[in-house]
């Protein structure tokens, strides 16, 4: 789960990572009140889950009330690379002396946290790497030992940051690691890590991704989820406990098991089709889950045909068939369905479908045959 800048900074503050003073705002009035309370100059920042806000005009300096009001008005509702701005963050302006880059993330290849530091901040890490690959220092941390002082010092000295800020940067990295571990983050990134004119070190931006599987122990973070930023189909699926990813095509897809669904997308693409979604109905899918899934798939208006690819293991094909029949009873289905049922109780499943003789539902025996059929029907 990605957090907005100000949400990330709330977590930073909690763990002692220094950040400038700031307040979130959802309206122009709130933004102006925040600016007045903080004192000018302030920076008004669009809160969206995408980079490149500055270039898109989503970050503006305001030196007085009039400017703050004008910027807040301009930025709220703005579209930044497909994301609508619903919230602002009003922050005390900082005088920039140097910009560094710091991050801690999960390195799944090494199966360890990876800490990174660069003296070249303020641009994408890929950009830094392209300009000067030696400018990014990387260090793995043993999860059982944690981030020690020496990790921070190695990063700081090898990155060649200014001698006078080594101590505060090392301290910040240690607090950042604490945030990473205690908040169950997959990524905490500070870019830029600012050195102000008065040589103070603060996190000027915050990019934080939280492990969705950990939210049961972080109720406050769980409440930070921002439904307004989500795709409506994905939101609908999440609320129903389905694993759904929206794609660009027109063929709705349902399967059981993540690997099989991914494979189904691939086979449909190879057959010349274009999948509209990934939907894993999960192991042991029951009839009600199937009804929910059909609703989610069809709520995407681009869908012109639907493929069910079920290999029954724990999932029983007769349950899936029953769910499909129920769904057809509840929903006015206007597009053709291709259904492939194999595995546990496949014959019973196919019989249920035959008995129900649903309109425009085609049963296929193999995955490949089903893919070809749905591509043909989708047009």
């Amino acid at each position: 789960m990605d957090l907005l800048e100000y949400q990330g900074k709330q977590l930073f503050k909690k763990h002692g990572v220094p950040v400038p003073e700031g307040r979130p705002a959802k309206t122009v009035e709130e933004a102006v009140a925040a600016a007045e309370a903080l004192g000018y100059p302030v920076v008004i920042k669009a809160q969206v889950l995408i980079g490149g806000r500055g270039k898109a005009g989503g970050i503006k300096l305001a030196k007085a009330r009039g400017e703050a009001e004008a910027h807040a008005k301009a930025i709220l509702g703005m579209d930044i690379r497909g994301f609508t701005v619903h919230e602002l963050y009003v922050e005390q302006a900082s005088e920039i002396d140097e910009e560094y880059y710091a991050a801690i993330l999960l390195d799944r290849t090494a199966k360890k946290p990876l800490a990174m530091l660069s003296r070249m901040g303020g641009m994408d890490v890929e950009e830094i790497a392209a300009k000067d690959p030696t400018a990014i220092v990387r260090l793995h941390v043993d999860p059982l030992i944690g981030f020690q002082g020496f990790h921070g010092r190695r990063l700081a000295y090898e990155a060649g940051i200014a001698a006078d800020v080594v101590k505060p940067v090392v301290a910040l990295l240690s607090r950042l690691y604490e945030t990473f571990v205690e908040e169950d983050a997959l990524l905490v990134e500070v870019n830029p890590l600012l050195v102000t004119k008065s040589r103070e070190v603060v996190a000027l931006d915050a990019k934080v991704t939280i492990d969705g599987n950990s939210l049961h122990r972080h109720p406050e973070t769980a409440a930070m989820r921002n439904p307004a930023a989500e795709d409506p189909q994905e939101q609908m699926a999440r609320e129903r406990g389905l694993t759904y990813v929206k794609l660009d095509g027109n063929i709705g897809i349902l399967g059981n098991g993540a690997g099989l669904v991914m494979s189904t997308l691939d086979v449909v693409a190879q057959a010349g089709g274009s999948p509209a979604n990934f939907l894993d109905a999960g192991g042991g899918s029951k009839a009600e889950a199937i009804v929910d899934a059909v609703e989610v798939i069809l709520s995407n208006p681009k869908v012109t045909a639907v493929l069910f690819n079920i290999f029954g293991g724990i999932t029983r094909c007769d349950e899936v068939a029953r769910g499909l029949v129920t769904a057809f009873g509840q929903i006015d289905v206007k597009v053709p369905f291709v259904v492939r049922l194999d595995g546990t109780n496949d014959e019973e499943g196919r019989k249920i479908l035959a008995d129900a003789s649903l309109p425009n539902v085609h049963v296929e025996k193999t995955m490949l045959g089903a893919a070809r059929k749905v591509v043909e029907l989708a047009g």
Partner: protein
């Protein structure tokens, strides 16, 4: 022979008294697996259709000689349960649970590597050695004994490929689901090493998916060490970057972890990669010679 589970397996099911644990634990026993105990805190002294339940894994080891643990415990307590099994001296832990927090698994994995025990999973379907033992949720009736070793990050995809092989007359030595999480106890390399040492296995099928660099590392390993033929499959050619495709580990980050890159890495090392499950079975048939 077979790998990891077989006739010597003495299984304790952590979470045997739960709905899933009970269903699959009994299912595994029906298949012939030696399920010696269950573990559910507070239910020690009870039994599940004759399988004695203990409060701790330590008790199950001490009283029933359990050497393998299957973890069906809900995500919040699963890491604790894996650590308990390791502490109790269990040699092989198979964690079925999906949704264990990554930081829990980081600690568990690092701790695991201090000792000699093995962990398969989490978020995996388990291990089936046809005709010998089934530990997990793999529907065993699709598979028969044979000479193909199957290792996979995905469950149902494995069934699909296994079934395609079965239709062409091939059985399996063992089917090992290593799971779809970013931090998994066992890697492709770990399992391929075991298949290399297994007399029964003549061909190895590895079934990867997007995310991480395991398949790329495995390609290097195969080129240097594997003596038996390996066939690859990768799911997720059409997956967009930045989206988690069901499995926590199935995500393309930037340009890393694409199916294309993985397939190419394998092919660059001489591993044939099927582009559909059907093609995998066809390649296997051409290599081993059609049977049925």
């Amino acid at each position: 022979m077979s790998v990891l589970v077989g006739k010597d397996t003495r299984l304790v099911v952590c979470g045997l008294t739960g709905r899933e644990g009970r269903f699959h634990g009994l299912n595994n026993r029906n298949y012939g697996t030696n399920v010696v105990a269950g573990m559910t805190p507070g239910k020690g002294g009870q039994d599940v259709e004759g399988i004695p339940v203990y409060n701790t894994v330590h008790d199950a080891v001490e009283k029933e000689g359990a050497n393998t643990a299957m973890v069906f415990v809900p995500p919040a307590g699963a890491a604790d349960s894996i650590l308990e099994a390791l502490d109790a001296g269990i040699e092989l832990v198979i964690a079925i649970t999906e949704g264990i927090p990554v930081h829990d698994m980081l600690r568990v994995y690092t701790h695991l590597k201090r000792g000699n025990a093995r962990l398969v999973g989490p978020n995996c379907p388990g291990i089936l050695s046809p005709g010998k033992a089934n530990v997990g949720i793999i529907p065993a009736h699709f598979f028969s004994e044979g000479n193909v070793g199957l290792v996979s990050r995905s469950g149902t995809l494995t069934y699909q490929i296994g079934n395609e092989l079965a239709q062409r007359g091939f059985g399996n030595s063992s089917i090992v689901g290593i799971g779809g999480d970013p931090i998994a106890g066992s890697s492709f390399i770990d399992i391929i090493q075991l298949f290399e040492q297994d007399d029964e296995t003549e061909l190895i099928v590895m079934c990867g998916e997007i995310g991480g660099e395991e398949e790329e590392r495995t390609a290097e390993y195969i080129a240097e060490h594997a003596t038996k033929p390996v066939i690859g499959y990768i799911a997720g050619f059409t997956a967009p970057p930045g989206k988690t495709m069901g499995h926590a580990g199935a995500i393309i980050s930037g340009s890393k972890g694409t199916a294309q890159a993985k397939a190419e890495a394998l092919e660059a090392k001489g591993v044939r990669v099927g582009r559909t499950p059907t093609e995998v079975a066809e390649i296997a048939a051409s290599m081993l010679g059609a049977k049925a």
